[in-house]
Amino acid sequence: MSIAASSALSRKDFVSDQDVRWCPGCGDYAILAQVQKVMAELGIARENAVFVSGIGCSSRFPYYMNTYGFHSIHGRAPALASGIKVARPELSVWIITGDGDALSIGGNHFVHILRRNLDVNILLFNNEIYGLTKGQYSPTSKRGHKTKTSPMGSLDSPFSPAALALGAGATFIARTVDVETQHLQSMLHRAAAHKGTSFVEILQNCVVFNDGAFADVSDRGTKAERQLLLEQGKPMLFGRDSEWGIRLRADATPEVVAVKDVKPSEIAVHDETNPFMAHLMSHMEGSQFPVPMGVLRAVEGEGYPVYEEGVHRQIHEARESKGPGDFDALYRSGDTWQVE
């Protein structure tokens, strides 16, 4: 379908003619660049990709992609994207959303698209703040966070986006951070390859209203201690020299242990297909634990049907069993009578 041979695509092919209008230094720039790069690497023809967004800083994203795009209304991108994907399953559909857009005003659509498991990709830019409206607490802001609408500190308890997605039945959950370009790219590749709804939480720095929210995770000096890089089948190790590990206690709670103090077999091994592991990883929060990064969960195939495939299979089956629809027969399907 593509006019350009897939190998001939480069990042530039996905750059639109619009001026990018995020604040200088915003984490969104890095994400945009990686997405454009990965789209080229994936060899998806520009005309077969659709970027759909809601409202918020991140939701400007589609304007900057030289693909088809729909900048919709607050929280509704998953609804719009569902219509696009169900009507045209062959399209590569990407939903760009933020913590307010997806988890607050659009919470309902977010959980339902995950439950249905459409084969789309959701990139949630989590900056723990409302940026576009200039700094109010969001559903991922930490309790006590002082913002313009919470001068004495937010009283809301934050969502863990990953835990919410897991609860909604997500078949693919990943977490990455704006500044880790390599890791971000690999998560985008994994998301694109996944059959079903891919949910990628991207920790994104809002330099203006919540600068440094993820500093410990992203700063060179601290990230080795603060990131737990998950890899399928690999032991959960972290620290500059992988000197720390995660061990599961007898009561199934995780603890941080010094590798030198334990047998290698005691270190937990990551398994993306294990729902209990995904549960642990999505709930591993707080300063005593590192932040799990990477693919928390990935399951597909049997037992994880893709919604739009079911829709079109049923149409196919109905045509097989009843023949293609005949409108005249339909009109006559009730009791009829002839008036002479």
């Binding site: 729909f70 900048h71 009507a87 629809g325 006559r332 002839q338």
Partner: protein, 620 residues
């Protein structure tokens, strides 16, 4: 079932011009089924028919109570008919509550058929009767047939060893059989229908057939009835007919419209009374390639429909007032991105949850103005159940031709009411053409067609024409985001002009009644039948009325203003507090007079006659 049935009646037959009959009973008594089947018989008898079901809002109201009464009214006639009639000539009641609710409607001297066995002390008390109504004198002046229907049903099934509950549930077939006899209805089709409807249980086929025949035979053989009646064939345009409800006609019209446009129909919807059947009917049409998504909420319903339109399908969402309120923001987005979208509002009594199962026309102003910003959409209102089919196709046509949302305003009365429908031939219905993008000039997503002002409909997958749409104001020429003040004003005007321009497609308004009348009655939507019949009746009494019934409410027809000014008086009957009348007064500076009814019930013809007459007298 061996011998041929029915045997034609040997009793004298009296010919009537038309009859209004109402079946009423407890929700569990099968009155909708009985009424529908009796309607089918009447259609087969060649009568013109119009029906109106009336059922309780609660699915399982306590048995025997007033809240649990379910009714079905049918008007059948040898002359042309537009309404299900006002006051029944015949009332069939299966319990005291049904009598209590419906007796006030029965016309004076009307016929009352009741199941004597259901008038137990307990049931009388539940219905609020202190004593049996036949003892209180309430039934004086009616022809009453107080029949032991339950006992006779049980007797007909005595040797069948059915549980008592099943026996009682057959008694509606006794009523159906008796009425079929009483009005000389053809019965072969009913017997065939019983056989197929209960095919899973041969025992029930046998039981219902027996009880149906017992009812018929009771009329024929006992002395209770001296004669029976018939209503002769109506003069109806020749053709093949079927009885169709507004909701079914809408579903089929939407699918037909999409097929005629060569596009896939995509319905994103959420169940809501009284629109749900449209979703159900379309969900059962998968072999036509129809996609239905039962969304997580009303917003996702319309959102997915709009997404599907962007992807090249005919996006449709169906709902009722409260749901349409939730969809408002997305309809506004559709106005902004200029994509085809059909929004069906099957109106019910409001505000809020209001009267979910009752009819009203109070969402016209919501359709016109219920969004933020200057947000014009096209609005079409079908006038009869069968017209829902044509209106749905028309909505699809305008949505694609003008790249706009179209709101289709049906209502509970049209949705559930049924009417004979002359079956169209699919091949004879006109195609719907969406103008393809012709690459003569450089592509811009908001480049407008000179005639229609519509932008091109280019869907993802089309090489070299990638573009972005969105809810932010865009530049008139490039379609890029623009906050320029004058550009915004220009865009607001061009979106409005586009909708105004749709009226270029309309045929001149048809004026019914007396062209030179003094009074013009202006209606819209489902009041068509009642207004037409009232105007006909008044004119036959020497009054002078004309009637115009615009199908499109936005834009209004171009000749409407001139027509309005031709008459001394303009009266606008509506099932609301006066909504079209405001629009008429606003747009044409005509001193139109409202005539309103907000009772969850349609206008009756004689009621309308009285009130129209009253207004004319008052304003002399």
């Amino acid at each position: 079932m061996g011998e041929a049935f029915p045997l034609a009646s040997n009793k004298p037959v009296e010919v009537l011009e038309k009859v209004v009959i109402r079946f009423a009973g407890d929700s569990g008594d099968g009155m909708q089924l009985t009424g529908t089947q009796f309607s089918n018989e009447s259609a087969l008898a060649g009568n013109d028919i119009a029906t109106l079901p009336d059922y309780p809002a609660e699915i399982r109201a306590p048995a025997g109570t007033l809240a649990g009464v379910s009714g079905f009214q049918l008007n059948f006639s040898s002359t042309s008919l537009l309404t299900p009639g006002e006051r029944p000539d015949v009332l069939v009641v299966m319990n005291p509550a049904a009598l209590k609710v419906n007796l006030p409607h029965l016309r004076e001297g009307g016929t009352l058929i009741m199941d004597a066995d259901a008038f137990t002390k307990g049931n009388l008390r539940k219905a609020g009767y202190a004593q049996h109504p036949s003892e209180s004198g309430e039934l004086d002046g009616y022809t009453v047939f107080d029949l032991a229907m339950t006992k006779m049903t049980a007797r007909a099934l005595a040797d069948m060893d059915l549980p008592k509950k099943s026996v009682v549930r057959c008694k509606n077939f006794f009523a159906l059989g008796l009425c079929s006899w009483m009005f000389s209805r053809p019965t072969e089709q009913t017997l065939a229908w019983i056989a197929s409807k209960f095919a899973k249980s041969p025992q029930l086929v046998e039981a219902n057939t027996r009880v149906f025949k017992a009812g018929w035979n009771y009329g024929e053989t006992t002395d209770a009835f001296a004669n029976c009646y018939t209503v002769e064939k109506a003069k109806i345009e020749p053709g093949l007919y079927s009885s169709i409800t507004g909701n079914k006609a809408l579903a089929w019209g939407l699918a037909t419209g999409a097929a005629k446009a060569g596009r896939q129909l995509f319905l994103g919807s959420y169940p809501i009374t009284p629109a749900t059947e449209i979703l159900q009917d379309l969900a059962a049409m998968k072999e036509f390639g129809v996609i239905t998504v039962q969304a997580e909420d009303e917003i996702a319903g319309v959102g997915s429909a709009l997404g599907a339109s962007f992807a090249g399908a005919i996006g449709v969402t169906t709902s009722s007032g409260p749901g349409v309120a939730l969809k408002a923001e997305t309809i506004g987005l559709a106005v902004m991105v200029e994509l085809p979208l059909v929004v069906v509002n099957v109106q019910r009594g409001g505000p809020s949850t209001g009267l979910p199962t009752k009819t009203e026309q109070a969402d016209l102003l919501q359709a016109l103005y219920g969004r933020n910003g200057e947000s014009p959409v096209a609005i079409i209102a079908p006038r009869t159940p069968a017209d829902c089919f044509d209106a749905a196709i028309e909505a699809v046509r305008v949505a694609t031709k003008y790249m706009t949302p179209v709101i289709l305003l049906s209502d509970g009365y049209l949705a559930n009411g049924a009417q004979p429908w002359k079956l169209p031939k699919f091949s004879e219905l006109p195609d719907i053409e969406a103008k393809p993008w012709k690459q003569q000039v450089a592509f811009q997503p908001y480049l407008r067609d000179e005639d229609t002002l519509a932008r091109p409909w280019v869907s993802p997958g089309t090489p070299n024409l990638t573009h972005r749409v969105g809810g932010i104001e865009k530049d008139y020429n490039s379609g890029d985001i623009s906050y320029d003040p004058l550009n915004h004003e220009r865009m607001v005007h061009v979106r409005a002009s586009k909708i105004e321009g749709i009226s270029a497609d309309f045929a001149p308004c048809e004026i019914e009644g007396l062209q030179s009348a003094e009074v013009l009655v202006v209606g819209w939507g489902s009041t068509y039948g009642a207004i037409s019949e009232a105007v006909r009746a008044l004119n036959s009494q020497g009054y002078s009325f004309a009637h115009v019934h615009p199908r499109w409410l936005n834009p209004l027809p171009r000749d409407l203003g001139e027509i309005l000014r031709r008459f001394d008086k303009v009266i606008v009957p509506e099932m609301n507090m006066g909504q079209l009348v405001r629009v008429v007064r606003d747009q044409y500076l005509v001193d139109a007079i409202p005539l309103t009814k907000i009772q969850g019930q349609p206008f009756g013809v004689s009621e309308l006659c009285d009130r129209l007459r009253g207004i004319v007298e008052e304003n002399k």
